[in-house]
């Protein structure tokens, strides 16, 4: 393989660490933000009943490697040298890289009646999911030398996309519960997806004869440069839906939501498919030809044996991950709230789970601070933070992260997460009316207390 491509792949690999993401959980507790409506369409932002979200950024990273893993000691110095490959030993047999970068270009939420609120949003997002076998990284960095006498399984799952999303949500709410739904129109702009995962190289011990067994497709979709508008919004369509419910039991609030139910994007335009399928043995040349043998000739012959076919076209159905949030919040005092959350994410028949506990303090009238502690699959516990700062009762600045500690040790972490942005608030405060109704309804008498 051309050394440029090797470096490109590796660099993408490392660079993606700082961009890859997992769906945020802390946002579910920041219920004063319209953005929490993205995790449950039944959530209505507290404060004023008209909210306009200015462009905001969400980013997250989840990788088995940290920047520190890419540093070596050389001549008494600490050198950032990702191509040394010293990090290979830290990899598991299968290594998961996944996440999103999301630019919420705008959102608006307003009431159309006393009980009904609607909201709309538009965002651009990039999701990247790789499942990289350790063998694949080893092949790239160390060649097939370490695999003499064994098999290298290097079929890498690739799913990376750039897509645009329009969403329209409607929420019904009263003093006891709220229920909401959102329909989202998706459009794939660009993407790379793998199909099949069989890439197997066996190097024998007698004279390093190679046997390559493949059943692997890579489908690449590129935007039409001549018609960018169509590429951005129309070419590769898909639909998904969110549903949510929130039950108000006085100080206790229960919520549940399902996101991207039956969501998928059908990629059909701008595709190029690279396909390899076969069982090829390469046993060298049949003649000794010292004068006409070069390393490049040998590598070219091996590459030819891969028999990669390329054709314009190809379709791909990208299933969006199905996410489920189930949460509970309890107002200990007017300015102190605790909560818990269960989270699951299912994609390609694989489900990941997470759980989180939250403490929120309305520190001042204009400052809300929350801390979370979360668990996610086999990862260590992460300490999260969500903060909202309201200026002049109209501008709402916020910052949310699932892992605040990363900001103290950014080079040692393998998860990286944050959402930052600004909302504008207008109109009345529905909470005032709601609070009065709840207090007057004397719910504790009707339902009893939880504890």
């Amino acid at each position: 393989m051309n050394k440029f491509y090797i470096r490109f792949i590796l660099f993408s690999f490392f660079f993606s660490q700082s961009l890859m993401a997992q769906q945020e959980q802390t946002l579910n507790f920041a219920t004063d933000l319209w953005q929490s409506n993205l995790t449950n369409p039944a959530f209505l932002p507290s404060g004023k009943n008209i909210q306009i979200s200015l462009p905001s950024l969400y980013f997250n990273a989840n990788s088995p490697l940290s920047i520190r893993d890419l540093i070596v000691q050389k001549n008494g110095k600490r050198v950032f040298a990702p191509f040394y490959g010293q990090w290979l030993d830290k990899l598991e047999e299968k290594n998961y890289y996944n996440g999103d970068v999301q630019m919420l270009t705008g959102a608006i939420s307003f009431p159309i009646s006393e009980h009904i609120q609607i909201s709309g949003h538009q965002l651009l997002s990039s999701s990247q999911n790789y499942i990289v076998p350790r063998d694949a990284a080893t092949l790239l960095i160390r060649g097939n030398g370490p695999f003499v006498g064994t098999a290298a399984e290097f079929g890498t799952h690739v799913s990376t996309d750039l897509r645009s999303e329009f969403g329209l949500a409607i929420t019904y709410h009263d003093e006891f519960f709220s229920i909401g739904g959102r329909i989202k129109s998706q459009n794939g702009v660009a993407g790379i997806f793998s199909r099949g995962d069989k890439l197997r190289l066996v190097t024998d011990t007698s004279f390093y004869a190679l046997r390559l067994t493949t059943d692997y497709d890579l489908v690449m979709f590129q935007p039409d440069q001549k018609n960018l508008v169509s590429s951005a919004f129309l070419n590769n369509g898909g639909v998904s839906a969110d549903f949510g419910v929130k039950i108000n039991l006085g100080k206790l609030k229960l919520s549940a939501s399902v996101l991207d139910a039956a969501g998928s994007i059908h990629w059909k335009k701008g595709g190029t498919t690279y396909s390899t399928n076969g069982d090829v043995n390469f046993r060298g040349f049949s003649k000794i030809d010292v004068e006409n043998t070069s390393f490049q000739r040998v590598m070219d012959t091996v590459k030819t044996a891969l028999n990669i076919s390329e054709y314009q076209g190809g379709t791909f159905t990208q299933n969006l991950p199905l996410r489920v949030y189930i949460g509970a919040n309890y107002e200990v005092t007017e300015n102190f709230r605790i909560g818990g959350l269960f989270y699951s994410e299912t994609q390609n028949e694989e489900t990941k789970y997470g759980a989180m506990a939250n403490v929120t303090v309305n520190y001042l009238k204009w400052l809300r601070l929350g801390m979370t502690i979360g668990l996610r699959n086999e990862n260590k516990a992460n300490l999260g933070l969500h903060a909202g700062l309201t200026l002049y009762k109209t501008a709402q600045l916020f910052f949310i992260t699932d892992n605040i500690l990363v900001y103290g040790t950014p080079f040692a972490t393998n998860t990286f997460n944050g959402r930052i942005g600004c909302n504008l608030l207008f109109g009345k405060n529905p909470d005032d009316k709601l609070t009065k109704k709840i207090k007057s309804s004397n719910m504790s008498k009707r339902y009893g207390t939880i504890w």
Partner: protein
């Protein structure tokens, strides 16, 4: 509360600022990837025929009916120049008519006797002056016959001169006492003979014969000088031994002359790398009679094959001297012992062709027989490679041990390095019976390591000189036999460290 908040904020800020400090002192993104690739280079099975493909064109290997091999070196066919006895004849010979019967002298070349000539080309022409009185003229050549009929032509000569001719192609002439008789007879209508002396002439153009019968005497025929080049010994160095059990030098003569010929060598000798010359001693030194066709076999060729071997020549000594070339000049003498001067024939296409070949059955012994081969090398094509470890797996079914060594040569001809640092690596030969027949194969693994320092040294090499040291199994103790079933399997793989 506000002081505490401020302190907390400052502490967090310090923490963040400290966290932004880069955890490394330097960045090295240009470090080259140094993967190691293990790839197969060659998998092949060869027999002796495959190995001989690289030899020059005059050598080839032939499988015998019993499966054994014979190596042949064959020289190009040489042949005598065509013999033309009438080359010195004038283009046109004019004979004035001086009398009615002319006996034209037709002498045979010195020492020869021409009994008959079959013409292929030539004309007999005549001219007679015009006459006032019409005459009937008859010309006759009694010795010129065609289908048993002698030549004669009758025509009328009047007031116009007559010029006519006859194409001799297909006519036979049988001179009598080295003379050809030409006659004319001219008569008037009354039957009166008339003399046409000095009133005309005959022309005989230079003719060519298809065949001549007679006795051709003793003369020498030269054959071009010929030689056989032996590539096998071209790169031999005098530090080992090889001995073939039954070499043969074969002379094949193809004779279409119709009279006795004897061939002998005027010179025949071998020459080897060190300049040593050995003269061939054989029956050819004194002369060998060749078969020839009798008069009733005109047009046929007769073959004579002369095989020189250890019994009738010193050929074994010549081969044992590792000749690079064997050259010889042959001469042919006619009618050397034909005192009876018996008649023979000479055709226009009579030739003597000779082909000389060396036949070496691959049975023999070798003891550290060393030869060299030079290959052009361009390691710039391996610019990415820093180290290499070749793994050579050989499955040798041939009864020879081979020790390999290679020397890397710079553009100035100096030895930069060698493949094997100490001992050359050995390919063991197949085990044999006492009679030299192979039983089984010999499997061996060898590694050749070229580390980074060595690769740096040899990168400027322009040539590699391969040195092959060959010994028959058991270090040349017994003769061994090669046959078509013996294979030499090679599997060559390499683990290369590269910089990308």
């Amino acid at each position: 509360m506000s002081k505490l908040s401020t302190l907390l904020f400052l502490a967090m800020l310090c923490c963040l600022l400290d966290s932004c400090k880069l955890p490394y002192d330097d960045v090295d993104l240009n470090v080259k990837l140094t993967p190691e690739y293990a790839v197969p280079l060659v998998e092949t099975t060869m027999n002796l025929n495959d190995l001989f493909e690289g030899f020059d064109g005059n050598a080839y290997l032939k499988v015998q009916s019993d499966g054994s091999y014979k190596m042949f070196y064959k020289s190009p066919v040489i042949e005598t120049q065509p013999l033309n006895l009438f080359a010195s004849m004038p283009e046109v010979q004019t004979i004035p008519i001086t009398q009615s019967d002319i006996a034209l002298p037709f002498p045979s070349p010195a020492g020869m006797r021409i009994d008959a000539i079959d013409f292929k080309k030539g004309f007999f022409k005549w001219r007679f002056d015009a006459q006032t009185t019409p005459l009937t003229v008859r010309i006759s050549l009694p010795q010129f016959t065609k289908n048993g009929q002698a030549f004669s032509k009758t025509f009328t000569l009047s007031n116009v001169a007559i010029r006519d001719s006859i194409d001799l192609n297909g006519w036979r002439c049988e001179p009598t006492m080295d003379n050809i008789v030409i006659s004319y007879q001219a008569t008037k209508a009354s039957g009166e003979f008339v003399s046409l002396t000095n009133q005309g002439f005959y022309d005989i153009t230079r003719f060519e014969s298809k065949s001549i019968k007679g006795y051709f005497g003793q003369f020498l025929l030269g054959l071009p000088k010929d030689s056989i080049n032996f590539d096998f010994f071209k790169n031999w160095r005098p530090n080992g031994k090889i001995r073939f059990s039954e070499p043969k030098l074969i002379f094949d003569f193809d004779n279409t002359f119709g009279f006795p010929l004897q061939v002998r060598t005027s010179s025949a000798e071998s020459n080897n790398q060190s300049g040593q010359k050995i003269t061939l001693q054989s029956p050819l030194t004194t002369g060998v009679d060749l078969s020839f066709s009798a008069l009733n076999e005109i047009g046929l060729s007769k073959l004579t094959s002369l095989v020189l071997d250890s019994k009738n020549s010193n050929l074994t000594d010549i081969i044992a001297s590792y000749p690079t070339v064997f050259s010889q000049s042959l001469v042919v003498v006619s009618n050397l012992n034909n005192s009876a001067k018996n008649a023979g024939f000479l055709n226009d296409d009579s030739r003597l062709k000779a082909s000389i070949s060396m036949e070496i059955p691959l049975i023999g012994t070798a003891e550290n027989f060393t030869t060299f081969d030079t290959l052009v090398l361009d390691l710039s094509k391996f610019s990415e490679v820093t180290t290499a470890e070749f793994k050579i797996t050989t499955d040798n079914g041939m009864p020879i041990d081979m020790a390999l060594q290679g020397y890397f040569i710079s553009s100035s001809g100096a030895i930069i390095d060698s493949i094997a640092l100490k001992e050359p690596f050995i390919l063991r030969g197949a085990p044999t019976t006492a009679a030299g027949t192979t039983i089984g194969t010999s499997l061996a693994y060898n590694f050749i390591k070229v580390d980074a320092a060595k690769f740096t040294r040899i990168r400027s090499a322009k040539k590699i000189i391969m040195k092959y040291s060959i010994s028959s199994t058991n270090n040349g103790a017994n003769p061994v036999r090669f046959n078509a079933t013996q294979k030499f399997g090679v599997k060559l793989g390499v683990r290369v460290g590269v910089n990308l």
